[in-house]
């Protein structure tokens, strides 16, 4: 009897410990979540506050609380000051084309570098990986010199080539389609697929492109989602490069819009409203892709 009671108390103690452990784990997670959510809450709450209240609240926790004269004036102000719709449209076009083209080009490169055997393969992959250490700032000037010289097909007044890519969509898209990190990511993913799948498909009559399209791509959903998220963010957030190559307003992306608010006196409410507007698309896309990401991970658990 005593041993039973003793066993019970030990078990109860263990259960309590487990519960405490999981509570503290969740507490920690909630703290982390709050830590990352605070800036966003501050941004969204502030976007509805008039400037004087906003500035008054910044020194206290009130900054995070929606109270007082909440108004949409800041949003109206944004559209008066900045062609926000145009900028968001531009950024959506640029980001989607870069991501779309990037997924095709980089996954094909990764496939070739990991699955197809050809001389110099390892050297090429090594060079591609080596370029990872070069930040955009380091190559911005040479890149600028290149894009000012490159020709582009023009349809204005008959088909002809024009020199220079400045003030265009392509100058914001094409230099960022091929991405060494994404190529590396795809190469690693494709390398992890069993070699015998290629061989079986070869025997079944598939070409290398057929193997890529019908076998490798369908089995790599998570990697595509990851690559999409990872390429979308920097393109959406691009500031330095568009600043260098786009002077015309109708081709500018969202981030260049931010500088419109930092004129003589900064309208912080409008800044927050604008930031809220340009953050929403990323949030939506991120959440949508994240779901696909998790789903594809779950389905890839099926192995033949």
């Amino acid at each position: 009897m005593t041993t039973l009671t003793h066993g019970d108390s030990v078990r109860r103690k263990a259960a309590t410990e487990m519960r405490l452990l999981s509570i503290s784990k969740y507490l920690l997670l909630v703290l982390f979540a709050l830590f990352f959510l605070f800036p966003m809450v501050l941004m969204i709450v502030s976007s509805f506050k008039p400037d004087d209240q906003l500035l008054r609240d910044t020194s206290s926790l009130k900054a995070f609380i929606p109270y007082g004269d909440l108004t949409l004036d800041n949003y109206r102000g944004v559209f008066d000051r900045v062609p926000a719709g145009r900028f968001i449209m531009n950024s959506l076009v640029i980001s989607f084309l870069t991501v779309g083209l990037g997924l095709v080009v980089n996954s094909m490169a990764g496939f070739a570098l990991s699955r197809v055997r050809f001389p110099g393969q390892k050297v090429i992959l090594a060079i591609i990986i080596a370029t990872l250490i070069l930040p955009l700032e380091a190559i911005a000037i040479p890149l600028l010199m290149v894009v000012t010289k490159l020709p582009w097909l023009s349809f204005d007044g008959g088909i002809h080539f024009e020199q220079g890519w400045l003030n265009s969509y392509q100058v914001q898209i094409l230099p960022f389609v091929a991405n060494s990190f994404t190529i590396f990511l795809f190469a690693q993913q494709f390398k992890s697929l069993p070699k015998s799948l290629d061989e079986a498909a070869l025997m079944d009559g598939a070409s290398w492109f057929g193997i890529y399209r019908r076998i490798a791509v369908p089995l790599s959903g998570p990697t595509f989602a990851t690559a999409a998220i990872l390429t979308f963010l920097p393109i959406w957030n691009a500031y330095l490069w568009p600043l260098m190559v786009v002077q015309q307003e109708d081709k500018r992306p969202v981030m260049l819009g931010v500088q419109y608010f930092f004129q003589l006196n900064v309208a912080w409410g409008e800044v927050m409203a604008y930031l809220t507007l340009i953050t929403l698309p990323i949030l939506v896309i991120f959440l949508a892709l994240q779901r696909a990401f998790i789903e594809s991970i779950a389905s890839s658990g099926v192995k033949g």
Binding site: S196, E199, M203, A206, L219, G304
Partner: protein
């Protein structure tokens, strides 16, 4: 369907490793040929060369009358079953089976028809809409087979297709594949390291060692008259007792020594194989199949000059037979010659006095006891003789 012919085919890898040496084989139309050998013998490489998945470094490969050395795998019209099945995990069973037809742009209705037929043959009809991950090992194996048969190819290539199955399923699938091949009559090359599969399935068996062809023959001929010590030791389980012996006596009264004991050999054995007579007075290698050794207690009429005295070191009763281990004074002859000794050389077990242990397959009625004295009878009419220097069978 077509014959497959290899003419002095060689495979040298870029790192210089010579995997296949002058392999010549003729596989007749509709024949089931098994390639067998220990790991690293080149059997899978040879198969992959037929498939077109490995380049041919030298020699010629024919499928039918056509040289296929430089023909792309998809244009060779052969189907392959892989060891890990290589099913496409994201496709259903029906899509897996019909994939090759889809790529060949066969009309959809015909694909559905042929997939259905293949599924019926392989008992997969109820699983056509499932993904490979939802199938058991045996079902996956059948899907892999289905993928091959649906194409009606000129030849099937199978690379250890049963090695991932458990023992019971393996026996069942072994029979199924053999039956299927007979029904379809498609030329088949089958790679295995399992000699039971090789012996039971193949019309002919081709034994390879280190990229060299050792012998191609029907299973029974391989077993009864191995061309060399390697084939003798490789085919048969438990494997043949192979030992060094001195061939003595005369052509009329030949004898062999087993350590310090002597056995007489029927003169007709020597008469049938003149090379043995020529070796009288020299050291040779002799091979005794375990089933040619019996407990003397069960054969009271056996002459004294066929008997050997020893002790029992281990008894393994299998119900239908008893495998008996016993030491003999004769030195064992390694089935791997000196050149190849290393990871493959199997250290022969020895008893406390250093004598090598050999095995016999006794009738279950044998009263042999562990550790007790044992008298055995050797059927010397069925001895195998090999040249000690070359390891080749002594025949003509």
């Amino acid at each position: 369907m077509a014959a497959v012919t290899l003419e002095k085919v060689n495979k040298v890898y870029p790192n210089g490793y010579h995997a296949i040496h002058d392999l010549s084989l003729e596989i007749a139309d509709g024949e089931f040929l098994v390639l067998v050998g220990p790991s690293g013998c080149g059997k899978s490489t040879a198969l992959r060369m037929v498939a077109g998945l490995e380049d041919i470094s030298g020699g010629d490969m024919y499928i039918g009358d056509r040289v296929v050395n430089d023909v792309h795998p998809k244009d060779r019209d052969i189907a392959m079953v892989f060891q890990n099945y290589a099913l496409y995990p994201h496709m259903t069973v029906a899509e897996n089976i019909g994939f090759a037809l889809k790529l060949a742009k066969v009309p959809k209705a015909e694909i559905a028809e042929r997939v259905k037929k293949a599924a019926a043959i392989l008992d997969l009809t109820e699983n056509l809409d499932r993904k490979p991950g939802q199938l058991s090992g045996g079902q996956r194996q059948r899907v892999a087979m289905g993928r091959a048969i649906v194409r009606q190819p000129k030849a099937f290539l199978m690379d250890e297709p049963l090695s991932n199955l458990d023992a019971k399923l393996r026996v069942q699938m072994r029979a199924e594949i053999a039956r299927l091949q007979r029904d379809l009559g498609v030329t088949t090359i089958y790679v295995t390291h399992d000699q039971v599969e090789a012996m039971t399935m193949g019309d002919r068996v081709c034994v390879l060692k280190r990229g060299f062809l050792q012998q191609v023959d029907t299973p029974q001929n391989l077993y009864d008259s191995p061309d060399n010590v390697f084939v003798a030791g490789f085919i048969g389980s438990p494997s043949m007792n192979i030992m060094v012996s001195t061939l003595g006596g005369t052509a009329e009264t030949p004898t062999v020594t087993i350590g310090d004991q002597t056995l007489s050999v029927p003169p007709e054995v020597v008469a049938a194989r003149p090379a043995i007579a020529a070796s009288i007075g020299t050291e040779v290698v002799i091979g005794i199949r375990p089933e040619d050794i019996e407990d003397a207690a069960l054969l009271p009429d056996a002459p004294d000059d066929r008997r050997l005295s020893t002790t029992t070191t281990l008894l393994e009763s299998l119900g239908s037979e008893v495998i008996v281990h016993f030491p003999l004074g004769a030195e064992p002859f390694s089935i791997m010659d000196a050149e190849f000794e290393g990871e493959d050389a199997i250290e022969k077990q020895r008893d406390s006095s250093g004598k090598a242990i050999y095995t016999g397959r006794f009738s279950p009625r044998s009263m042999a006891r562990m550790g007790a004295e044992l008298e055995i009878v050797v059927d010397t009419g069925r001895l195998h003789f090999f040249d000690k220097a070359t390891g080749l069978a002594l025949r003509d």
